[in-house]
């Protein structure tokens, strides 16, 4: 029993700082498949959110200007929504003017990707370096900007 619990804990532990982010393959709005590994070489913010999460919506609006400023220099945001209602998700994307990679998976909190990354609350985000290693968990917009200013000179 203990062994089983430990195994589960290992399988579903949140990636820690310094660790390699696990691969994510999910479909976007248009049905297009996105792979996290395709963003290698860029700084990436893996951003778990949902339309019904008020702090996430606030964060979306803060990320917009950062994305516009740094995207071309080598910054990507890999958004993952836990919305179960696809229309609510689409509406939020439009309302928050999200122009970065946006994916979703059925199951809400129990979506395989949310379980694999052990997401217990929203928003939860991971900032990855060019090699796909976690350099910060739940960074503020200010912190992301500091890292990008340093790394994408």
């Amino acid at each position: 029993m203990t062994v089983l619990a430990t195994l589960t804990a290992i399988c579903y532990a949140q990636p820690k700082i310094g660790e390699q982010a696990p691969e994510i393959v999910l479909k976007g709005l248009n049905g297009k498949e996105y792979r996290l590994s395709d963003t290698r070489g860029k700084y990436v913010l893996v951003d778990f959110w949902a339309s019904w999460c008020a702090p996430c919506r606030k964060s979306n609006r803060q990320l917009g200007p950062l994305y516009d400023l740094f995207h071309k220099k080598g910054f990507e945001i890999f958004g993952i929504s836990l919305d179960e209602d696809i229309n609510a998700w689409k509406k939020a994307i439009a309302a928050d003017k999200i122009n970065w990679v946006q994916t979703r998976e059925d199951g809400g909190w129990n979506a395989p990707v949310a379980v694999a990354w052990n997401i217990e609350q929203l928003p939860t985000s991971f900032l990855l370096d060019r090699n796909g290693r976690v350099i910060s968990i739940d960074p503020s917009a200010f912190e992301i900007e500091q890292v990008l200013r340093q790394g994408l000179k």
Binding site: A50, S51, W52, C53, A54, P55, C56, E84, D85, A88, G108, W109, I119, E120, Q121, L122, P123
Partner: protein
């Protein structure tokens, strides 16, 4: 013959299913965003009478669907929220009613339970209706006071049927009685 028995059975089951709460809208409050934590979701989904829990942004509430035919334990919903470190700010239950008479400070039986109505006008409930639980710890203290003031019966404080609340001696003191408003 078998068909007749089966349809009778279905009819009985059908009416049984009717007099029941089918879903609830629950608002939780705490120091952080209640919808944003998996904890409440997890503890509510564990309840055997709950079929699904979804977040509704419009009302900042959890939309909880109940399994048809399962006994809905209202206190268990509150316990689930409190176990997750939050408190219930509002709990509304949706059910289908069939000519159920309600009146201020009076009891009404529904789904095998006795409910005590507060802050309502005398009326007969029919069809799908929404009721709000006004027991202690199911709404902010200030609002609870507003409803508890409208009755002199002590069951509103304890949530248990007291001597004052027994009607025709059918209830014993320990029976849980929920207080509702419309």
């Amino acid at each position: 013959m078998k068909k007749i028995i089966l349809s009778c059975l279905l009819l009985v089951m059908g009416t049984g299913l009717f007099a029941q709460f089918s879903r609830a809208t629950l608002q939780a409050s705490g120091l952080t965003c209640a919808l944003c934590t998996k904890a409440i979701n997890k503890s509510l989904e564990q309840l055997d009478f709950v079929s699904s829990v979804n977040a509704d942004i419009k009302t900042s509430s959890f939309l909880i669907h109940f399994k048809p035919g399962a006994a809905v334990d209202i206190d268990a919903l509150r316990n689930g929220v409190e176990d997750a470190g939050f408190s219930v700010a509002k709990l509304q239950l949706t059910g289908t009613f069939n000519a159920m008479a309600v009146a201020q400070d009076e009891h009404a039986d529904y789904d095998g339970k006795t409910f005590h109505f507060l802050g309502v006008k005398k009326q007969v409930l029919n069809g799908e209706q929404v009721v709000t639980v006004v027991d202690k710890n199911f709404l902010p203290a200030k609002e609870f006071k507003k409803y508890s003031k409208t009755t002199s019966m002590s069951c509103v404080e304890t949530g248990r049927m007291d001597n004052c609340c027994t009607k025709g001696g059918k209830a014993n003191n320990s029976t849980r009685i929920y207080h509702l408003t419309l």
